[in-house]
């Protein structure tokens, strides 16, 4: 999985799409979200009154001094306690609701994505990297849901506080409020200007970081070439240059971003001083009370935080939209055509496969299969041969309906497979591919993968005839041992044997095999060959063939080159025509 390198979330290309899809998908939870917003607002409002009442306490004390009226002050204390307890309770309520919503929403999105994976045509995954889909499932869902819950709470709290504080401040003293209101747009403006300036340098920093990362990646993966060419010094020097550039860029970007805090600091403190001076004058003039100033100062400090928070939300919203776009873009990918309504089933399959004028191309430009027709009688063995990269899996893709022909059709026992359910077509074939995919689970679970109702006995029997029983028995927990795609307690060849056994357990009427067995030692190779022999016995089978013996014993050979079927026939016929097959055969197997 390729996840290193890009650390920036990026921006959404189509904001409208991203936003619309996001809002649509969150709809089932809209009442919960609304409730949490209401609770957030309530909590903010309750908290707002606290400084005001504390100020009132001071006022009562000053006005009744020296006979301080502790009775009424005590009552205020009780009110404050109730207020902040209630506010905290509401706050917890809103946070809790949001946490549940975001957890459920995450679950929902993940499950949508996994569903989508099973409904997308194979062609999608042949064109897109797994890592890309995986990161939509993990990173993007994470970003979307966490920034969503964070934003909902932040925005509703911030805006309520902002409005509430403004009202209370105005109610205490209009002139004092005006002073603080002037300071805020000024500081926001200044910070905005600075950020805009800094952005250029941040971009430079980001680009240099990208260059640095790819240099690291390249040098580390090419280590053997660097070592065998004494290139170490040059590599270190070249890395040093980029590294230095990065540090410089970071420094320049930092000058600006470091400015923004002191600048806001100056503006807010200016307001603070002005309030002290002017407020003092008002108290002396008898316009307001001392307690009011104390309250006012507390409100001013509460006024600043929501502003910086709202300013910070733009960045979060940007990454939220980018994540949303990537998720919903994926969910909107065109799916496999649904199965036909009236689906054919073949009760007792004989295994006659016919290709009728099949044409196929992966990209509509380059035809891969042109007007291909062939009749494969039950029990026949078909070998598909050709150099690496010739597109030998195309036939398999069509047979299994991973891809559909552009024109023409394929029949099994005379019935067009297009009219059948995909699942019913696929049930007819057993498949053993070169890529030995096993899922993480026990050996037994893996063997049962193609036939959930197989008995333990069936499984052991299949393992025995696939020559893999002794390997499994040698594992610490035999059939209950855990294995996976990348487990290293069994070799590549043994994994292939397990996939053969898996196909045997499924016991399908026809077989698709890939003979390519790289990374296998000679002995295991013979075992595999022997198991293949058993597996194809009496079954119509399609083999991507690499072994001469297989090819020679085949009833039909399809010769592929550059993605297309160029010749077909049996071994002797093809040799006689002296075409590509003959050339291939001679270069690979015969004498010079």
């Amino acid at each position: 999985m390729d996840r290193h390198g890009s650390t920036t979330a990026g921006k959404a290309k189509d904001i409208k799409f991203a936003l619309k899809q996001f809002l649509k998908s969150i709809k089932p939870w809209r009442f919960m979200i609304l409730l949490s917003v209401i609770l957030a607002i309530g909590s903010a409002i309750l908290a707002l009154f606290i400084p005001k009442i504390l100020g009132d306490m001071t006022n009562i004390a000053v006005n009744t001094y020296p006979e301080i009226d502790f009775g009424s002050i005590g009552r205020k204390v009780v009110v404050v306690v109730i207020l902040f307890l209630a506010s905290a309770l509401l706050n917890y309520g809103q946070a809790f609701i949001l946490a549940v919503v975001s957890a459920k929403y995450t679950e929902h999105l993940r499950s949508e994505i996994i569903d989508k994976i099973s409904r997308l045509p194979i062609s999608y995954f042949d064109k897109h990297k797994y890592g890309d889909t995986l990161s939509r499932m993990t990173n993007d869902v994470d970003v979307l849901t966490t920034s969503m819950s964070q934003e909902i709470a932040d925005i509703s709290l911030s805006i309520t506080t902002l409005i509430g504080v403004m009202i209370i401040m105005l109610s205490i003293s209009v002139p004092l409020s005006l002073i603080s209101f002037v300071a805020i747009p000024l500081s926001v403006l200044a910070v905005g200007k600075i950020t805009k300036f800094a952005q250029k340098y941040f971009r430079e920093q980001q680009n240099t970081l990208g260059a640095l990362n790819s240099e690291i990646e390249e040098d580390y993966s090419g280590q053997i070439v660097i070592k065998s060419n004494s290139y170490e010094r040059t590599a270190v020097a070249s890395f040093g240059a980029v590294n230095q550039k990065l540090a410089k860029a970071a420094e320049r970007a930092q000058i600006f971003s470091s400015l923004s805090f002191p600048v806001t600091h100056i503006f807010t403190n200016l307001a603070y001083v002005a309030i002290c001076i002017l407020g003092g004058k008002f108290v002396i003039d008898g316009v307001i009370n001392i307690g009011d100033i104390q309250a006012f100062i507390q409100y001013v400090s509460r006024f600043n935080r929501p502003i910086t928070e709202v300013a910070a939300t733009t960045a979060t919203i940007q990454s939220l939209l980018a994540a949303s776009e990537r998720i919903f873009e994926f969910l909107a990918e065109p799916e496999e055509e649904p199965d036909t309504e009236k689906s054919l089933t073949i009760p007792d399959v004989k295994g006659e496969v016919e290709f009728h004028n099949v044409c196929f191309s992966y990209n509509k430009k380059q035809p891969v299969i042109k007007n291909f027709s062939a009749t494969i009688k039950p029990g026949m063995k078909v070998a598909i041969v050709g150099p690496t990269g010739a597109g030998k899996t195309t036939i398999i893709n069509l047979l299994m309906r991973f891809y559909e022909p552009d024109s023409g059709f394929i029949t099994i026992d005379g019935e067009p497979i297009r009219e059948m359910k995909r699942a019913d077509v696929r049930r007819l074939f057993g498949m053993v591919l070169q890529d030995t995919w096993l899922f993480s689970g026990t050996v037994e679970e893996n063997l049962r993968y193609g036939n959930q109702s197989a008995s333990y006995n069936d499984i052991v029997q299949a393992a025995k005839s696939s020559n893999v029983n002794h390997v499994i028995e040698a594992l610490p927990k035999t059939y209950k041992s855990m294995i996976s795609e990348d487990s290293d307690n069994i070799s590549a060849g043994e994994k292939q044997l397990i996939t053969i056994a898996r196909a045997m357990v499924a016991d399908p009427p026809m077989m698709i095999l890939d003979e390519a067995t790289s990374n296998v030692d000679t002995r295991t190779e013979q075992l595999i060959q022997d198991s293949f022999e058993k597996l194809t016995h009496g079954r119509t089978s399609f083999v991507i063939a690499h072994r001469l013996s297989t090819i020679r014993n085949s009833d039909l050979i399809l010769v592929m080159r550059d993605g297309a079927i160029v010749e077909q026939g049996n071994h002797d016929e093809l040799l006689a025509t002296g075409g590509f097959y003959a050339e291939l055969y001679n270069s690979q197997f015969a004498e010079n």
Binding site: H4, I50, L54, Y65, P66, V77, V80, V81, F84, S87, Y92, A103, T106, E107, I113, I114, D115, I117, S118, I122, F125, L134, M137, T138, L212, S214, I216, Y220, S221, Q223, I224, V225, K227, Y231, E232, V236, F239, A247, I255, S258, F261, P262, V263, H265, I266, Y272, V273, C276, I277, G280, I290, I297, R426, G450, E485, A506, S518, V520, E525, F589
Partner: protein, 590 residues
């Protein structure tokens, strides 16, 4: 983590300025509440407007000073962080690049990349934070504490109550949540695993119609994760309301206590609100510090991973200059060589001996795991033989200076690896002083000339990172050209011909003949057809030499070779080959 602090050393004076600036900033910020208290007590209460004005001006001056100090401290912490990470990154990079192939065996490339990039970024973030917060918070805490006690000594117990409450609530929440985080991570990993399996096993899942089964598996884990997440959040979300209660409670206490103290001293009127602000500062800095303690362990993981790389002891030591005089004629000789990976029980190679002479091709064949790739990796000393001796041009590999040895070897790895740059820069990779003619000749021999000259900018055409803009076969040919351009004494092809089609393979080998007249050629191959013509074939079986000789010779006497040939040819052809071998043996007998 702390050991990495030595990289801060070159920036010590910046750190000093940083500390001073932070002190100034904290001090000025904390003066403001005191000044405000004075304004209330000595300005507003007696109605002295002049006093208010002069105090106001002092506050303004302090604000300006504090802004400058704030700028300095935040700029310097970021700057030191950036340069710190530059130095650390450079050190890691140099360490990895200069490490031997064997030193890095236990690390995957991806993990090395993460260590150089993400892990360093993590550390940089923490260093920057430490420099700003770790200095500021305690300072804030101490100065605010002192000033609070000065303004209202009778109220200082409130601080103790507030801080205790903060610490208790943070510790409690963390104690409840942190153990769950570990479980959380394993479930997240499982989600990733299942998704990955669904993607990599796409064809198999569909072939077996098991989409529903997979979905069920996923849903189970997904549900588990959701429940756990809700549980964790239920506790974690307590933090904000709790802290709100504590802060508000402390402020209320200040007001109540302050008012009740007014009898003793009317100055508590101003002092209590200053005090309330100091209490808030103290509690805030405790909160910040507790957050640091949550973050530090995470950075520690990164630091640990970085130190694993930096603490690597190179296994192979090179001489400063070559000891002994290598002979002019090229040769490679293995004398009873054993090799065993460190910690492994079984030997990969045991008692391997052979001599490869100039002008001749020596080929290695055997099944996977027979040790043929390992064997040729010993020649450029990528790995060190556990026992025995390897002589290059008559001198032990251990007696060579590194670049001297490497310059004699043209190594073509199994996969064609190219670097971003031009076609030319790639061919000249091991021979920076090669002429244009050399480059073209190398390309011609490697059968790369034709396709290179069809490219729009020929030899100056760009090669993308990882060589993604040329095909696999083209990559391999360029990588062969790179070795040829070096004009080495010894060519090593590690299964390098397998990516080429038969025709190109044959042409290339024919073109190589004239330039390898005075060079040793070592070839590892899977296909018998590739090595049939080799002057010497070394057959490896489980790390032992099972046979040595030419093709026909081995067919007569080496059972392992016979079985390899048999598995690649049909029965008829095998019989034909055997006949040839018999004739060869008879001729030899005569």
């Amino acid at each position: 983590m702390w050991k990495l602090f030595k990289y801060l050393k070159p920036y010590w004076w910046q750190v000093v300025i940083l500390v001073l600036a932070t002190v100034a900033q904290v001090y000025t910020t904390l003066q403001l509440p005191a000044l405000m208290a004075q304004i209330i007590n000595d300005g507003i209460v007696p109605g002295n407007m002049d006093y208010i004005w002069s105090m106001g001006l002092i506050m303004l001056g302090l604000t300006a000073l504090s802004a400058v100090a704030a700028f300095l401290s935040s700029f310097l912490s970021a700057r030191v962080g950036a340069y710190f990470s530059r130095d650390l990154r450079a050190e890691i990079f140099a360490k990895i690049i200069n490490a031997g192939v064997s030193d890095l065996k236990e690390f995957s490339t991806a993990s090395l990349i993460t260590r150089t990039t993400n892990d360093v970024n993590q550390i940089q973030m923490v260093i920057t934070m430490l420099l700003s917060m770790m200095i500021r918070s305690p300072l804030f805490c101490i100065i605010a504490l002192v000033m609070a006690i000065q303004t209202a000594p009778e109220m200082s117990w409130i601080i103790a109550v507030g801080v205790t409450a903060i610490i208790c609530s943070v510790v409690l929440i963390m104690a409840l949540v942190i153990p769950k985080f570990k479980v959380f991570q394993t479930i997240v990993d499982r989600i990733t695993l299942i998704t990955r399996e669904n993607l990599t096993g796409l064809r198999v899942i569909r072939a077996f119609n098991n989409e529903k089964l997979e979905k069920k598996k996923f849903e189970k884990t997904n549900d588990e994760l959701t429940k756990l997440l809700i549980f964790i959040d239920r506790i974690l979300e307590l933090q904000n309301p709790l802290i709100g209660i504590i802060f508000n409670g402390a402020t209320l206490l200040c007001s109540w206590v302050g008012i009740s103290l007014l009898h003793q001293d009317f100055s508590y009127l101003g002092n209590m609100s200053a005090f309330a602000q100091y209490v808030t500062f103290v509690m805030m800095s405790f909160l910040m510090m507790s957050m640091l303690f949550v973050m530090l362990p995470r950075a520690n993981v990164s630091a640990e991973r970085i130190r694993e790389v930096l603490d690597l002891n190179f296994k192979i030591h090179w001489r400063g200059e070559t000891y002994g005089v290598p002979s002019k004629s090229a040769s490679v000789e293995f004398k009873n060589v054993d090799f065993c990976y460190p910690g492994a029980a079984e030997k990969v190679l045991s008692n391997v001996s052979f001599v490869a002479e100039a002008g001749k091709t020596t080929a290695f064949i055997g099944s996977t795991g027979s040790g043929k790739s390992t064997l040729i990796n010993l020649v450029p000393r990528f790995y060190e033989a556990t026992d025995g001796e390897i002589l290059i041009n008559g001198v032990s590999v251990k007696d060579y200076e590194k670049d001297d040895l490497i310059s004699r070897i043209g190594f073509v790895p199994q996969h064609g690896i190219l670097f971003s740059g031009s076609v030319e820069s790639n061919i000249m990779f091991g021979a920076p002083n090669a002429s244009k003619a050399d480059v073209i000749r190398a390309a011609e021999i490697a059968q790369a000339k034709d396709f290179v000259e069809k490219l729009p900018q020929k030899y100056n055409s760009r090669i993308a990172q990882g060589g993604t803009n040329v095909s696999g076969g083209q990559k391999q040919r360029l990588s062969i050209a790179r070795a040829i351009c070096k004009k080495p004494d010894i060519f090593i092809f590690d299964d390098a011909f397998s990516a080429l089609d038969m025709k190109t393979d044959a042409k290339l080998r024919a073109a190589l003949k004239p330039i390898t007249e005075n060079a040793v050629v070592l070839v590892v191959a899977q296909r018998v057809s590739t090595i049939k013509d080799a002057e010497q074939i070394v057959v490896l079986d489980n790390g032992r030499v099972a046979g040595k000789g030419c093709h026909l010779d081995l067919l007569n006497k080496c059972p392992v070779y016979q079985s390899i040939v048999k598995s690649q040819l049909s029965d008829d052809e095998y019989a034909h080959e055997l006949k040839l071998a018999n004739k060869f043996a008879e001729k030899g007998a005569k």
